[in-house]
C-alpha cells in the first residue's frame, strides 16, 4: 500500500469535488443533465460508498443493504410528516434509525462469515420488505408508499409559524428547496462529505484493521484481536450511509415505497460496487452512475428517437441501424445492462476502475517508468 499524505488526500478530494459539482456541465452532452438523474447519481453514490466501506474493506458481502435504505426513507418521511419540512431533522432521524436497525441486524449476522453472512442479511431484508408491503401498512402505507399529505402534523413548522398555504410543502434546507438543481447541489455536497469520511476511514488505522479482516480473519484472531467490534462498526457506518441515502431519496422526492427494500435493490448496490470496482474509493460511485444512467436514459429511447438519431444516414442504412439497435434500448434496456455486466467482469476483473488504471498505466509505461505499473494495483 502506498502511504499518502494528507496533502495528497486533499488534492484528491478537491479534484473529486470539482468533478461532482460540475456534473451539470460535463453530463450535458450525455443527455443526463436534469435534476432528478443528477440527484440520483449523488444519492446512489453515497449508498455505494457506504456499501463499499463494508464490502470493499472487510469483504463481508451484505445482500440486504436496501433494508437500511428503505428504513432511512421511511424515517425521513415520518420526520417530514411529524416534525418539519426542513431536511435536517429528517436526515438525523433517518441516520439514527438506520444506525440502530443495522446495529441490531449486524449483531446477529456478523456471527457468521462468507456466504452465510450474505444469506442472513438477505433474509432480514426480505422479511423487512415483505412485512412493509403487507402487515406493516399502517406505518409504511404498503404498496402505495408513504406520502405527505395536507393534514400532516409538522409540529415544529407549526410552532414556528411556517405554514404551508395552498399545496403540500416541499422539503427544504432552510429555504433551499430540495427539488431541482438546489436538491442536487445539496446531495452533491453531502456526497463530497461522505466521500471525505470514507477517504479518511480508508487511510486510518481503523481502515487497516478492516482490511486485515478481509485478508485473514483467523490470523487476526490468533494474534489476539477481537475482530467483531471492528466489523460491527463498519457495518453500522455503512448502514448509516444507506440510511442517509434513503433520507435524501425521500427529501428530493417525498415518497417512501417498500420496493426500495426488495432483494433486487440490495443486489443493485452490490452490482454497482463490483461494476465500478470494489475496494476502490471512486469505483462504487462510477458504478452507481452507470447503472442509473442505463436505467433512466437507455429505457427512454424508442423507435422514433432512434430514427432521429440515425437520420443522417441514407434510408436503407438508417432502417438497418434502427432495427439493430431497437432490441437494446427502450423495453430492451435490461438486455444491455446484462451484457454490460458480463463484458465488464469478463474483461475488467477489477471493475471499471481497473479499466481506468490500465489506461493510466499504459500512459505511464510510455513515460518509461515500468515499475509504476506494478505498483498501481495496490489500492
Amino acid at each position: 500500500m502506498q502511504m499518502t499524505t494528507l496533502r495528497q488526500d486533499f488534492l484528491f478530494l478537491a479534484l473529486f469535488a470539482i468533478a461532482v459539482l460540475t456534473m451539470p456541465i460535463w453530463l450535458d452532452p450525455l443527455g443526463a443533465n436534469y435534476p432528478d438523474l443528477l440527484q440520483k447519481f449523488a444519492i446512489y453514490g453515497i449508498f455505494a460508498i457506504g456499501f463499499n466501506i463494508l464490502f470493499g474493506l472487510t469483504g463481508y458481502l451484505s445482500f440486504g443493504h436496501a433494508a437500511f435504505l428503505g428504513v432511512g426513507s421511511y424515517a425521513a418521511v415520518w420526520a417530514f410528516k411529524l416534525f418539519s419540512m426542513n431536511v435536517v431533522p429528517a436526515l438525523l432521524l433517518a441516520m439514527i434509525v438506520a444506525g440502530l436497525f443495522s446495529a441490531a441486524i449486524g449483531y446477529i449476522c456478523l456471527r457468521r462469515a462468507g456466504i452465510y453472512f450474505s444469506i442472513l442479511t438477505l433474509a432480514f431484508a426480505q422479511m423487512s420488505y415483505n412485512l412493509a408491503y403487507s402487515v406493516l401498512t399502517p406505518i409504511t402505507n404498503g404498496e402505495t408508499g408513504l406520502q405527505l399529505s395536507l393534514q400532516d402534523a409538522r409540529i415544529l413548522d407549526r410552532t414556528f409559524g411556517i405554514d404551508a398555504t395552498g399545496g403540500i410543502p416541499f422539503p427544504n434546507f432552510f429555504g433551499l428547496t430540495m427539488g431541482g438543481y438546489g436538491g442536487f447541489y445539496f446531495c452533491a455536497v453531502l456526497l463530497i462529505v461522505c466521500f471525505f469520511i470514507a477517504l479518511r476511514i480508508d487511510r486510518s488505522p481503523f481502515g487497516m484493521m478492516l482490511r486485515a479482516i478481509k485478508s485473514n480473519q483467523n490470523r487476526m484472531a490468533y494474534t489476539g484481536f477481537n475482530t467483531r467490534p471492528y466489523a460491527m462498526t463498519a457495518f453500522i457506518i455503512s448502514g448509516m450511509y444507506a440510511g442517509l441515502a434513503g433520507a435524501l431519496l425521500a427529501a428530493t422526492d417525498p415518497l417512501a415505497g417498500a420496493e426500495r427494500m426488495q432483494w433486487t435493490a440490495s443486489g443493485e448496490v452490490v452490482l454497482m460496487t463490483i461494476l465500478g470496482g470494489a475496494g476502490t474509493l471512486v469505483g462504487p460511485i462510477v458504478g452507481a452512475g452507470v447503472i442509473k444512467y442505463f436505467e433512466n436514459i437507455f429505457s427512454a429511447y424508442n423507435e422514433g428517437r432512434l430514427h432521429a438519431i440515425f437520420s443522417f444516414l441514407p434510408d436503407g442504412l438508417e432502417n438497418f441501424f434502427v432495427t439493430v439497435t431497437t432490441p437494446f434500448v427502450g423495453e430492451g434496456w435490461h438486455l444491455t445492462l446484462g451484457i454490460a455486466f458480463m463484458l465488464v467482469v469478463i474483461f475488467l476483473p477489477g471493475g471499471l476502475m481497473e479499466g481506468v488504471r490500465r489506461i493510466r498505466s499504459l500512459f505511464s509505461r510510455r513515460k518509461s517508468k515500468p515499475e509504476q505499473a506494478e505498483l498501481a494495483p495496490a489500492e
Binding site: 459539482l21 460540475t22 402505495t144 428547496t177 427502450g330 423495453e331
Partner: protein, 446 residues
C-alpha cells in the same frame, strides 16, 4: 421552487466556491424560469410523456398501452384514419395537433415500481419538458406518479388503475382517471352474481396482501353481503406467491361455495389456474355448484390463464367487441396498424390522451389551471363507453361498467371474453365523500 432564487446563490457561494462558479451558468438555463406555467411550450410542438411498464410482469400490457398512445399521437396530428377523433362528440379536436402544435412524445419505463415510475416521469418533466404524463398499469404506480405530477405542476392522466384510492383517499387536483374502480366493479358485478348464483351463497376471499387487493375485497364484500351472501373467510396471500395451493386447499372444507380471487396479473393467472386444477369448479358445496369469481381481469390475463378462464365472471372497463361507433372506429384503426385488437388498457390510455388534448383545445391553453377546469364535470360521448361524465368532485369518470365472462368457445386468442351485461352508469355511481381525501388546488408551477 418559490424560495429558490435568493438562497440558492448564497448557499452555493458559501459552500463550494470553485464548483459553483463553474456550474452556475447551467442553472440559469434551467427551463422552468420566467414562464407562466411549468414547461410552457414555446416552439411549434408539444411534448407528452408516455410512462408505461416496459419491463417486469406487466410489460405486455405496457407495450399495448404504448401502441395505443402512439396511435393517439398520430391521430391528433391528423395522420392515419383519425380513429375516435371522428366519433368523439363535442370534440374541439381538428387533427392539427393540439392548439396547432404538433404532438411529440417521449417514452419511459415504470418497471411497475413507484420509484422507477417517478424517476421516469421526472425525467420527462425536467429534461424533455413534458406537459402531461399518462400510462401505467398498477395502482401503486398511478398514485405515486399522480402525486408527483401534482408537485411538479403538470397533468396526470392515469392509465390502468383500479384501486378506489386513486380517485379516493389519494386523489389530486392535477390527476384524472378514466378507468373504473373496485367499488364500481362490486356494484356492477353483485346483481349479476345474484342472478346467476342465487342469494344465499357463502363466499371465501383470497386477497392479494396490498392496498389494491384490500380495497377490492372490501368493495366486493360489501355488495355481496348486501345481496344476502355470507362471507366465510377472507385470507390475505403474499404478493407473487407463485404456488397458491396452501391457500386454495382450505377453501374446500370451509363450507364456502364461491371463491372470490382478488388477485391481478401473474398472481391472478396462477391462483385461478391452480384453483381450477384443484377441481374446485367440479365440486359441489351446500348442494350447489362451486363457483369462482375474479372481479377484475383483462384480455392478457385471460390469455395467461388459458382454459381456466372459461365461464368465470368478472368486470371490465371496455371491450373491443362492443357495438358502438367509437369502439368500432378505434378497433379498426388499431387493428389495421398493429394486426390485433386493442386491450382495455390500450383503450383507456388512448381515450385519456384524446381527452387531455380536447381539454387543452377547449381551454385554449396548456396551463394546467385551464385544462383542469375544462376537464372537470365534462360530459362527452363517442369514446367507446357511451355517455360519460368526468366528475369534478373526485376526477373519476362515470360510465357504464361491463360484466364479462370467459368465453366457452373462443374463436381465437383475442376472443376470450364475452360481454354479459352493460351495467348502467346510475347503478355504479357513488357519493364522492365516501372515500375521503382532498383534491387540493391546481398546481401549474414547477
Amino acid at each position: 421552487m418559490k424560495l429558490f432564487n435568493v438562497n440558492r446563490r448564497r448557499f452555493l457561494r458559501g459552500s463550494v466556491a470553485a464548483g459553483a462558479g463553474l456550474a452556475l451558468p447551467t442553472i440559469f438555463t434551467s427551463a422552468s424560469r420566467a414562464q407562466g406555467y411549468c414547461n410552457e411550450p414555446t416552439g411549434s410542438s408539444v411534448v407528452l410523456g408516455f410512462n408505461v411498464p416496459q419491463t417486469g410482469p406487466y410489460a405486455d400490457e405496457g407495450a399495448d398501452e404504448l401502441r395505443a398512445l402512439q396511435l393517439a399521437a398520430k391521430h391528433l396530428n391528423g395522420e392515419g384514419d383519425g380513429g375516435m377523433l371522428n366519433t368523439f362528440t363535442g370534440s374541439q379536436l381538428q387533427g392539427n395537433g393540439i392548439l396547432g402544435k404538433k404532438v411529440e412524445y417521449v417514452t419511459g419505463d415504470t418497471q411497475t415500481k413507484s420509484d422507477a415510475a417517478r424517476a421516469s416521469a421526472r425525467r420527462m418533466i425536467e429534461k424533455d419538458g413534458a406537459l402531461m404524463i399518462t400510462g401505467g398499469s398498477s395502482s401503486g404506480v398511478a398514485v405515486a406518479v399522480q402525486s408527483l405530477c401534482q408537485e411538479a405542476g403538470v397533468i396526470f392522466m392515469a392509465g390502468l388503475t383500479h384501486s378506489n384510492d386513486t380517485t379516493g383517499k389519494d386523489k389530486r387536483r392535477n390527476g384524472f382517471r378514466h378507468f373504473f374502480n373496485a367499488y364500481m366493479s362490486g356494484q356492477a358485478l353483485g346483481p349479476v352474481l345474484a342472478e346467476s348464483y342465487g342469494n344465499d351463497r357463502r363466499a371465501y376471499h383470497l386477497t392479494a396482501d396490498y392496498t389494491w387487493g384490500w380495497t377490492q375485497e372490501e368493495s366486493i364484500k360489501a355488495t355481496t353481503e348486501q345481496l344476502g351472501w355470507e362471507t366465510v373467510e377472507t385470507v390475505r396471500t403474499p404478493l407473487g406467491a407463485g404456488d397458491f395451493s396452501q391457500y386454495i386447499t382450505p377453501v374446500v372444507n370451509s363450507g364456502a361455495d364461491v371463491l372470490i380471487l382478488n388477485h391481478y396479473g401473474k398472481d391472478m393467472v396462477n391462483s385461478l389456474t391452480q384453483a381450477v386444477q384443484f377441481g374446485l369448479r367440479e365440486r359441489e358445496a351446500n348442494g350447489k355448484d362451486f363457483q369462482i369469481v375474479v372481479p377484475l381481469f383483462s384480455e392478457l390475463m385471460a390469455q395467461g390463464a388459458g382454459e381456466a378462464i372459461k365461464g368465470i365472471y368478472g368486470t371490465a372497463n371496455w371491450d373491443w367487441k362492443l357495438e358502438n361507433d367509437g369502439t368500432q372506429a378505434f378497433t379498426k384503426s388499431f387493428g389495421q396498424e398493429y394486426g390485433q385488437p386493442p386491450s382495455q388498457a390500450a383503450h383507456t390510455c388512448y381515450v385519456q390522451a384524446l381527452l387531455y388534448a380536447n381539454a387543452v383545445e377547449t381551454a385554449g391553453t396548456f396551463n394546467p389551471e385551464g385544462v383542469v377546469e375544462a376537464l372537470e364535470d365534462l360530459e362527452f360521448d363517442g369514446l367507446g363507453n357511451g355517455p360519460t361524465l368526468y366528475r369534478g368532485a373526485d376526477h373519476q369518470c362515470f360510465k357504464p361498467v361491463l360484466v364479462v365472462q370467459g368465453k366457452e368457445e373462443p374463436q381465437d386468442k383475442f376472443d376470450l371474453l364475452e360481454v354479459v351485461r352493460e351495467v348502467p352508469t346510475e347503478q355504479v355511481t357513488y357519493d364522492p365523500s365516501i372515500f375521503g381525501g382532498e383534491l387540493g388546488d391546481v398546481n401549474g408551477q414547477c
